[in-house]
Subunit: 902 residues, 2 copies
């Protein structure tokens, strides 16, 4: 028979930290603290298995199963505390708390002082010699129990808690403001009125029997596992239904029993900076809820903390010492005990701990301990310090890194001083992290107008690329986390706030109106791309400080990873940035991004509008030198590493002008009529361009494009080789779904390369491979693998096609899907393992079946997302490629994946 | 060691009909005819394996390998014919012909009279006592051999054959018109000139050595297997490279040796009607090429055929008898022999034979026999007749049916008389078969203007649906075989000609201009949807005659099929048509097609433009009765059979008006401003609507739509049940990619149905299932299968997403892909087995793994295409569903698949 109850207390415990799944986080922590000699009020934990039984079989059979053990455990608590449940002399009071494996909002949290009734309240009064404390505790317990267990809590924001209503009317009648101004008689009459309210609302008397109180509280915890809010939270956070929650029943201790009592929270290290210094806050003569209420100012635990606090708040030392003394000063002995306890806990758990404690009449009790939440900077600092202190080894330290949090360290931020006085303007989505200030421009081609500009657009388009690169930051009124602006900005590592719906942008007047205030071109604004905040004026920023510890983490990542990390970069500048972050080569260069600047777009349009092959070749010849120069820069930056260059991919429609003025201009340049240009633009329009004439379909129907691009790549490679550098070009054919497509392009590439080799009387080794991004390609990857030298997964398109989601249109249903639990995460951010992942797996398996030496990587945006990187490690990819600023994140994620799945 | 040469002659043969792969169609036929005692000129076949060796290893080693055997075989021919290769007295002449497994244009066909040279021409002259015949044969041989083997054939249409040039100049000099007017001396001088031309062009003398002639001819046949045209043909027709071609070398016989010589072709039955009557044409004193040249009128073989011919041509009996006698009359004994031979052949091959014969001096020789090509009507008639005659069994008869050819029998056709005088206007694509005449209308909403109208549009859109249904036929200037007009018309079984590019349609003037001639609204035109022809005026049509034999075929199909066939039908009328064709239920009712008519579209638009739930519900309530009525009609027509109704699928943008006038109208009706309507229309526009807010994504974000549709279905079902009929509704959720989507819709459906059941105090059994059309659905079909009661593959969308081809846009590259062999067939017409098929297979396997009773069908257009139907049989589907007029085709295809893969 299973064991459903685990007791703890007085340095003993049936459970331990290892039993988190069975006892929940809180329960296992309480047990473990007992085991290592930390003072914890005695109690017991009802297991998550009991919760599952309850969910399955209901209360009657479940409670029958555990009743005897609960009574036995409670009896043990009575013995340890030398108190008695429901006693009129020396009553035992308990707290009842839920405790799942992870803390979960939406569930029942805590009932305190359970065991109080009309009899035991007198006992408490006697024992503590404090009638006010006893009656105040009783009226609080009635309210808490009734709200939570008897369902008297208001269900809407408009409704008023019936108990709050009563207490307000009592205070009003007496003419006082604070609860603390009520005396014992007032509290006694409150209890009477509270009980009347319960009777009126529920039809029953408030339960006086402590056993009944206890079982109803236990049931309420179990029920709360399945309430709507908890279910919703589980869906959002991918928490399985069958984890269940444990219930912790524990003897009450009181921090509000006088001036040698206190309550507080602490951290064994600084959660914000990572500094190795014990810190936290406490209040003398208070309960936990008083800290939350915010009526009294919490004081610092340590003297040094207290002094730092006083300095930052401008509090004089004499005021601090008398009014806000540290625990170190006010209760020095207990402080020393607490200091030892926190040291012991960190030593034991080998990580920074977040603790809750209560001091009752000078006696210290720990109520909770857990690994503390921390900032990215603190995460790095603490992991490295713990390693240096010999507490954890390299591997453990590395696994302590949440890769996504490194992002905080990689971008400039506003100084805390600047933020203090900043005037908030609007909030958008935190589309691309970092902080930037600049003068407003409304048009991409005017980004150069100011030395520091912020490009403000309703939304951006590929034509804006050059301007986006010049501007310090980008702000849009429309579009989500995967809109053009967001994706491009993240790729550039440029600060971007997207979809700030409150903005009214008027391109004609060149103004931005928000909340009644109008900003004009040239006005300064500041963006925080990590939070989505938009501020007025120019705020001071501080650069990212890639400290020595950051480098240490990267060294470990290098040491323990199996996959290597490349970058997606379209310019020599991006390539250089990525190299600094440790990218080993380029996984994706989108040649088309090179086509939008100045003269290039003209030649590109000329090519598109040409009526025959000769005309196209003429225009392509103009593009060739531009491409070659770009490639040379990239090859130089990636000396010694592979550079994957994708042949032209987007539909041609993206390159032609869509406004009449520009069309007119183009018509004149090309000696065409406006009508002819309009006609061509119209012809290029497609119903579903994502599935239209693009990718290798362009290179196949217009082989001259592939020829030109191959020539540019090979010529650039030979030029850089001639400088003595090591060039490793990899030519990637996009959107292949059929081996014949790749074969066609392969022939064009090989033939062109051979021609260049002959012309130059020199050769270079290069690879030809394909992007795997059409579902069909995964299914026939065995045949494609026979002629491809590498695969690179384009998981953006693969996600679009496998799920049938147009990324540009998914805004109409994807948020609804995520908010309603139909999808757990945005599949464009986190790889959909069941669907797209399955395709990736199939393709790897099929491809390697015919070509065991096939090099396989991924160059979609998922390449920089830790959970996706983990998946790519599991399915055996050779590398991931991501935007430059995600490279460190991907490197750490890849290393952790390797350690986790060793 | 392999055997590369197979001899035949004098009633003996080393090969047989069973050796088609090795000997080619022609070679195996020649061998088999020998074996069954049919007179065939002796000869031998060089195997396809020799061809493959040649392709692989080249001429030298291959010819070394076969040389001795070829000489040996040639010697045997000399012995049998008692003639000698290259003899000055009695020269053996041979023909050299290619012969692959299937006949293949683009390859070298035939060289006749090989063996002639300056010496043997004299021998031929002596032996035949006909110098003119001998020298005419020699000059023809030089031309044929030089053109084909020596590559002197002109390569472009503009170039003139050098030999034609010479003969024309000779005739011109002599002042005659016909070759036949040249005498022996003329021919001798021609030979001299021809040989000079060869020397001038090739630098070498015309080869005089017969052995050399033979080997060069053999080599030319082998080479022709790999010429560009042959390769191209193989790509188009999916013929593997490694089939190779055989070479047939055979003693010449001559039909042009006088009035007891003749040449002809015959069919053992009528290839057009299937009538069991021997028929064919011949010419006295002629060679095969004379029949082709068309200078002389070919005569009928049989007397009855001759009389029928005379009657149809208005030739008097005395004229017929004297000038155009039948073979039966002119050479009665040989005729009898021929008649016996054809009977013997049919009896032997158990199928209608197409034969070629030559009569040399009264002696009959068969040169070829093969299964004859035939019309759809003849195919049915012959298969049934052969069965009744006891020659083949039911299964064989059924397998003789090419399902696609049944289409010819299902639609009205123009009478032959009408076609004779019809004035051709233009040619388009044969988008939907049948014949129709009507008066031109240019707008769908004016289709009722005339009792019989033809809707003429540049292209059609969903708004035109009602008008398309009313018109007799549809003609468009743009769009391919899978354009909107084509797909919808085929679905309706309505005659349609698409993409007739020569048409200039002017909507404003309501005119259609083509080739300078203008047709106005109200003018009569006629369409042949089976050929793509457009005619002027009103042509007489005759209805499809579904003869008794057609019924017999259907009975066999019923008997031998495993899968059953449903239909895709959106109206009660379509449902009735399909029932007549044997559909067992409906596999797809597209509810949205019901939304376009009259009042309905108004309510639909009201729903879309409503600003809140209440507004949408109000509009939906207006749609409900329309839907219910439609469903009632469909349920009635399908009494006893399942009816699958798909919930709303297309993006809402398809339903709103896109022209200002209509938007204005809508604005007024709804009390909105034009701006508001325009804004809403703009908001609904999507970048890639195919992958946007559609399918179940609509039903999930607007559950009230699913509620309304469910209510309409269930109410209709209960109403029809109340009439005593058997109703089996199946509700299908489209575009599911995730089990949560289906679960969401399932709940809405079940809840709504339960509500209706309560209201009516009655229930009905219904199924809820899903369309499998998103690739992801196939990958997670195990989880979807747990809650779906059926799967129906939407292979149109599945093809779009798996291949990444937007059907509406693929016109820009798909034709190029097919013409260049990158794709073998249009994947929207024939299921892509490697890609989409793999997905289907996966989904069936996954789905049945969790739900063994899962019903699985397919309702994409592939459901009516025989090769796709075969695939669906192989992967174990329960049924296919297709448009009503494809039902018989699918039924036969399904039965044949079952017989083939038994
Ligand atoms: Mg892509
Ligand atoms: Mg579909």
């Amino acid at each position: 028979m299973s064991k459903y109850i685990y007791t703890f207390g007085d340095g003993k415990a049936e459970g331990s930290a290892a039993m988190k799944n069975l006892l929940g986080g809180k329960g296992s922590g309480l047990a473990e603290m007992n085991l290592i000699g930390i003072p914890v009020p005695p109690g017991f934990t009802i297991t998550t298995e009991a919760c599952n039984l309850y969910t399955k079989n209901g209360a009657e059979s479940t409670f029958a199963l555990i009743k005897a053990d609960v009574e036995q455990a409670l009896h043990q608590v009575e013995e340890l505390t030398k108190m008695e449940f429901g006693s009129a002399e020396n009553p035992l009071l308990v707290s009842v708390r839920s405790g799942a494996r992870v803390s979960m909002p939406g569930m029942m949290d805590t009932i305190l002082n359970l065991g109080l009734n009309d009899v035991s309240v007198e006992g408490l009064s006697k024992r503590t010699n404090n009638p006010r404390f006893a009656w105040d505790s009783y009226r609080r317990f009635i309210q808490m129990f009734s709200d939570i267990v008897l369902d008297m809590k208001p269900t809407t924001k408009e409704d008023i808690d019936p108990f709050e209503e009563i207490i307000e009317s009592v205070k009003h009648a007496k003419g006082v403001k604070q609860d603390t101004e009520l005396d014992v008689e007032d509290l006694k009459s409150l209890v009477v009125k509270y009980k009347e309210a319960v009777k009126a609302k529920t039809g029953n008397d408030f339960p006086q029997e402590p056993q009944q109180q206890l079982w109803r509280a236990i049931q309420a915890v179990f029920d709360s596992w399945n309430n709507d809010r908890a279910k919703y939270y589980r869906i959002l956070n991918k928490i399985p239904e069958d984890w269940g929650t444990a219930v912790n029943v524990q003897a009450m201790v009181f921090g509000n029993m006088g001036n040698t009592s206190a309550t507080g929270v602490g951290f064994t290290r600084d959660a914000s900076t990572g500094e190795n210094i014990f810190n936290g806050e406490y209040l003398i003569n208070a309960q936990g809820e008083d800290v939350v209420a915010g009526i009294r100012t919490p004081q610092q635990i340590t003297l040094i903390g207290s002094k730092r606090w006083a300095e930052s708040q401008g509090v004089q030392e004499d005021v601090r010492k008398t009014q806000f003394p540290s625990l170190e000063e006010s209760l020095p002995e207990t402080y020393l005990e607490l200091k030892n306890v926190q040291e012991k806990l960190e030593q034991h758990f080998k990580d920074m701990q977040d603790i809750e404690f209560t001091i009752q009449n000078g006696k210290l009790w720990l109520l909770q301990c857990r690994n503390g939440k921390r900032t990215g900077a603190a995460m790095v600092q603490i992991a490295c310090d713990l390693f240096r202190e010999g507490k954890i080894d390299e591997k453990t330290a590395l696994k302590r890194i949440e890769p996504n949090k490194l992002d905080e360290l990689l971008h400039p931020i506003f100084t805390p001083e600047a933020l203090k006085t900043a005037k908030f303007v609007a909030k958008g989505l935190p589309a691309s992290p970092g902080a930037a200030s600049g003068q407003i421009v409304f048009f991409a081609d005017e980004a150069k107008k100011f030395a520091q500009s912020i490009l403000v657009r309703i939304e951006t388009s590929p034509e804006d690329l050059e301007g986006m690169n010049i501007a310090r930051g980008i702000l849009t009124a429309r579009g989500g986390m995967t809109s053009h602006a967001a994706v491009v900005a993240r790729g550039m590592g440029k600060c971007c706030v997207c979809g700030a719906g409150a903005l009214n942008i008027n391109y004609k007047q060149r103004t931005l109106e928000v909340g009644g205030k109008v900003y004009a071109e040239g006005d300064w604004i500041s963006l925080n791309g990590s939070t989505g905040d938009v501020f007025e004026g120019k705020l001071q920023t501080q650069e990212a400080q890639l400290s020595g510890d950051f480098g240490l983490i990267m060294d470990w990542a290098e040491k323990y990873t199996r996959m290597y990390v490349r970058t997606n970069a379209d310019t020599p500048k991006d390539a250089q940035v990525a190299r600094k972050f440790g990218a080993k080569g380029i996984g994706l260069t989108r040649t088309e991004h090179m086509f939008f600047e100045g003269e290039r777009i003209k030649a590109m349009r000329e090519m598109i509008l040409a009526s025959d092959l000769a005309g196209r070749q003429l225009a392509l010849a103009k593009l060739l030198p531009f491409q070659r120069t770009d490639f040379e820069g990239i090859f130089e930056a990636m000396n010694g590493y592979g550079v994957t260059i994708r042949l032209l991919d987007p539909p041609l429609h993206e390159f032609v002008p869509h406004e009449t003025a520009q069309q007119q201009e183009l018509a004149q340049e090309m000696g065409l009529t406006l009508e002819q240009v309009k006609q061509k633009v119209h012809e290029l329009a497609e119903f579903n361009p994502m599935l239209g004439h693009r990718g290798c379909r362009l290179g196949i129907t217009y082989p001259e494009i592939t020829e030109m691009q191959t020539r540019a790549i090979i010529e650039a490679a030979l030029n850089i080789k001639a400088k003595g550098l090591d060039v490793k070009p990899e030519i990637m054919v996009p959107l292949v779904g059929n081996v014949n497509e790749l074969e066609h392009q392969l022939k064009v590439v090989r033939k062109t390369a051979d021609t260049v080799f002959k012309e130059r009387n020199d050769t270079i080794h290069y690879l030809v491979g394909t992007m795997i991004e059409v579902p069909r390609a995964c299914l026939v990857a065995d045949s494609i693998g026979q002629i491809a030298e590498f695969f690179s997964f384009g998981t953006n398109d693969l996600t679009q096609m496998t799920l049938g989601f147009s990324r540009d249109d998914a805004g109409k249903f994807l948020p609804y899907y995520i908010n309603n639990g139909i999808l757990k995460v945005d599949p464009f951010q986190v790889l959909d393992r069941q669907g797209v992942g399955k395709m990736v797996e199939l393709a790897v398996k099929n491809g390697k079946s015919t070509n065991p030496n096939l090099k396989v990587g991924i160059c979609g945006e998922h390449g920089g997302e830790p959970s996706s990187v983990e998946f790519f490690h599991i399915v055996g990819l050779d590398y991931v490629s991501c935007s430059p600023f995600r490279v460190p994140i991907a490197r750490v994620a890849a290393a952790i994946a390797n350690l986790t799945h060793a």
